[in-house]
């Protein structure tokens, strides 16, 4: 396999950031509050840590096989057929994830902004853009992410900063409110919002210096996790836990409540939605990219361009399956939590087996030498 190693560490980190920040920002505080009440920041933090552990496992695996992705080294570690089976499950999961992201995007747009526009059109347009972008190679992929990161982070931070004018710190206390069971469930849901970070396995083979992938992962999860935590803290401080339970997209509501001083803009949701559309695009782009490239690698195809268009109708069809927004969120939460088995447990298993085998190998060579 010929690799042009052109992606820098910074680029890798930005890919992670813009991939992680996506549709999930909108219902994030709701998920967190459902899990932990006023202890939501704690739940979020736990979710971030869990996601970080998963990401580090994957990155360590990647640095051990700097030429390969999880699709290819998976076959090396567990054997060809089991590896292929697992890869198929992973691919299928990201296939679903792309569809759900596209649908959630469409659902927000239809119920909050463009109310007359058919849902199918918004979803289709989004998928089409992702499809077209996937046709290019990984460098373009890196550039697109790199380009959008400041545009995503800046406005979000501005909104959070100005919203604190209406904040009431009492809403953030007590730190632990709910049962441990609910908190654990909330933690899993939130950590599922970070599943996009799986893309790191695709990037490592193209990095200039694969050893630095750990550093990129750290900054990626640190910045995106920090943004998520800030959003949760700000929405709870402004709305309180009880009000958050009443709204679908507390983050969007936060932007609607926040005004720039001096009435320059009386509501910031316009800015926020513009940013959010880009954020959704980059997320969808990554998960679709992962799906297409993994299929390409598994089937050992030469070209992925036609595949990108070939898969699109299936994603679209899957996106249209949920009946309404309530069902959609049920599916998202269940799929997300189940997906943790794939995105954290599977790599963890691979890493354990790999470590075990390399130790045995070393022992064997030791025995032979002596």
């Amino acid at each position: 396999m010929e690799n042009h190693r052109e992606i820098t560490t910074v680029q890798a980190a930005t890919i992670l950031i813009s991939t992680i920040i996506g549709v999930g920002v909108l219902p994030l505080p709701l998920f967190a509050v459902r899990g932990g009440g006023s202890g939501a920041p704690l739940v979020t933090l736990a979710g971030i840590i869990l996601a970080a552990i998963g990401l580090f496992i994957l990155t360590i695996l990647g640095t051990r096989y700097p030429q390969k992705t999880i699709i290819t080294y998976g076959e090396d570690i567990v054997g060809k057929w089991i590896g292929k089976m697992c890869s198929m499950i992973v691919i299928f999961f990201f296939f679903i994830l792309s569809a759900l992201a596209a649908r959630e995007f469409g659902e927000v747009v239809v119920s909050a902004v463009l109310r007359e526009t058919p849902l199918e059109v918004t979803v289709f347009v989004m998928l089409l853009i992702a499809c077209l972008s996937v046709r290019y190679n990984i460098n373009t992929f890196a550039y697109i992410h790199n380009f959008y990161v400041p545009a995503i982070l800046g406005p979000v931070l501005i909104i959070v900063a100005f919203s604190l004018k209406n904040a009431n710190p009492l809403y953030l206390r007590p730190l632990i409110e709910n049962d441990f069971y609910y908190m654990a469930k909330g933690m899993l849901t939130i950590s599922a919002l970070f599943q996009g970070s799986f893309i790191v396995t695709m990037i490592i083979p193209f990095m200039k210096n694969p050893k630095k992938a750990i550093k990129a992962s750290f900054w990626g999860i640190f910045i995106s996790g920090g943004v998520y935590l800030l959003i949760v803290i700000a929405t709870i401080a402004v709305f309180g836990t009880e009000e958050i339970k009443q709204i679908f997209w507390p983050t969007l509501e936060l932007a609607r409540t926040t005004a720039l001083p001096g009435n320059i803009l009386q509501r910031l949701d316009v800015i926020f939605l513009a940013v959010w559309v880009t954020a959704v695009f980059t997320t969808l782009f990554s998960s679709y990219y992962f799906t297409i490239y993994s299929i390409k690698q598994m089937a050992k195809l030469k070209d992925h361009r036609m595949l990108s268009f070939f898969m699109m109708p299936f994603v679209f069809f899957l996106a249209m399956l949920p009946q309404n927004i309530l069902q959609l969120y049920d599916v998202i939460q269940i799929a997300g939590r189940a997906g943790l088995l794939i995105t954290i447990l599977y790599p963890a298993m691979l890493l354990a087996m790999d470590l075990f085998r390399s130790r045995r190998r070393r022992k064997k060579s030791d025995v032979q030498e002596s």
């Binding site: 006023s38 119920s111 909050a112 902004v113 463009l114 109310r115 007359e116 526009t117 058919p118 059109v121 209406n166 009431n168 009492l170 809403y171 206390r173 007590p174 632990i176 409110e177 402004v238 709305f239 309180g240 009880e242 009000e243 339970k245 009443q246 709204i247 509501e253 609607r256 409540t257 005004a259 009386q266 509501r267």
Partner: protein, 408 residues
């Protein structure tokens, strides 16, 4: 072959892009829109109810009781007339025709809005809705049934204002103030600016919902009256018990309320009797600093309120007293503190009687004693019962820093 032909490619692209020119589904010309600027909600009278049953459009059939049981409300909406709202300062134009006033009856707001749509040719648009005026009588029966629609509709701003009126809300919609060309904007500015001037704590519909949802606090709203059929006056703070209005305070009590809530910006002044004389001075609160602490005393919450005022003497009523040394200022300080302390206690007692914890002491209890809260209280209703007889201490400390530019 043909695929490589550049001119053919251009033609294809041209035809592919052609359908996009028609615009999107949501495009709407601004003059085709009925922009609702303000809404007033009243109880419907019997006559109007009869009208509704003739022209109802949201229920299937009268006979099979497909009608909601809620009382009918009368919604008066102020709709901007496209093109009539002047942008710059133009002279000598009356504001009479810049808005259209439509009145409809319905079971809920959306029901009424649908009825309204039957009367207006253009699609109603609520994105610029600045203020909703609720009549006192309706507010006393509960506001929760309006909140659902307002929360669900994405057009409504969370920063819109909500106010309670003594007179029918309809009158506010028909009122023509002299200071602003667009009546509803004057009304909205009035409510918005009040908090900027320190006359009222921050109040907008999103905040009202937030407080209403929180378990340990009851909401409040500005209470408006009409003076001389011409001008609007803020004449108190309407306090709620849950979603129902429970009563109103006097205007000065708004200041005391802000003191307990710890709203930093002062704005109210009060006459204070100078000790030892019969004369008064007007003392204005510039800023306040409040510390609220909740303790558990014998298993019951006890509130400790410390307020520190930074004040200024604005005026004295008579020439016979002199404000020229610091001892007299000190005496005025003490007198002010005493008076304010008394009034604060009175206000708390008033809200306790109404079981309306507008100060949010319950939130303090929930935040500081979570175990006690979940075990003993847990719900909003329970907190009201506890709030009714909680004990409290009030300490007021006044500092007069300035006396103006006069030496005597």
């Amino acid at each position: 072959m043909t695929y490589k032909n550049p001119s053919l490619r251009l033609v294809i692209i041209f035809f592919l892009l052609f359908p996009l020119l028609s615009g999107c589904w949501d495009s709407q010309e601004i003059e085709q829109r009925a922009t609702v600027l303000a809404i007033g909600i009243d109880k419907a009278s019997n006559k109007e109810e009869a009208q509704q049953s003739l022209g109802g459009i949201t229920h299937f059939d009268k006979s099979n009781s497909s009608e909601p049981e809620e009382e009918l409300i009368k919604v008066t909406a102020q709709i901007a007339v496209p093109g009539r709202i002047p942008l710059g300062p133009t002279q000598g134009q009356s504001s009479h025709n810049s808005v259209l006033i439509v009145q409809v009856v319905g079971h809920t707001i959306q029901d009424a809005m649908l009825n309204l749509q039957q009367q207006v040719a253009y699609e109603t648009f609520l994105g610029h809705l600045r203020i909703i005026v609720l009549n006192e009588k309706i507010a006393k029966k509960g506001t929760q049934r309006f909140n659902d629609f307002l929360r669900r509709n994405p057009q409504i701003r969370r920063t819109a204002s909500l106010a309670i009126s003594k007179e029918p809300a309809e009158d506010y919609m028909r009122l023509v103030p002299e200071l602003q060309r667009i009546p509803s904007l004057y009304l909205a500015d009035m409510v918005d600016n009040l908090s900027a001037l320190g006359r009222f704590p921050p109040s907008f519909i999103g905040l009202f919902w937030t407080i209403l949802s929180s378990k340990g606090q009851d909401p409040y709203l500005p209470y408006l009256t009409i003076k001389d059929k011409k001008s609007i006056q803020l004449s108190g703070l309407a306090y709620f018990r849950g979603d129902r209005m429970a009563g109103k305070t006097s205007p000065l009590e708004i200041g005391f309320y802000m003191a307990i809530r710890g709203v930093g910006r002062g704005g109210y002044s009060a006459f204070i009797k100078v000790p030892g004389t019969d004369e008064f001075v007007l003392v204005k609160a510039i800023s306040r600093k409040t510390k609220v602490k909740v303790k558990l005393k014998d298993g019951k919450p006890h509130v400790d309120i410390k307020v520190r005022y930074e004040s200024e003497i604005e005026e004295k009523t008579s020439q016979s007293i002199y404000i020229n040394d610091s001892t007299i200022v000190g005496k005025i300080q003490d007198e002010t503190s005493k008076e304010v302390e008394k009034s604060l206690k009175k206000l708390i007692v008033k809200t306790q009687k109404a079981e309306s914890d507008i100060f949010g002491f319950g939130e303090h209890v929930r935040a500081t004693y979570p175990k006690y809260w979940t075990k003993e209280i847990g719900t909003k209703e329970n907190w009201k019962r506890v709030y009714k007889d909680i004990t409290y201490d009030v300490h007021v400390d006044t500092r007069i820093h300035r006396v103006g530019m006069k030496a005597k």
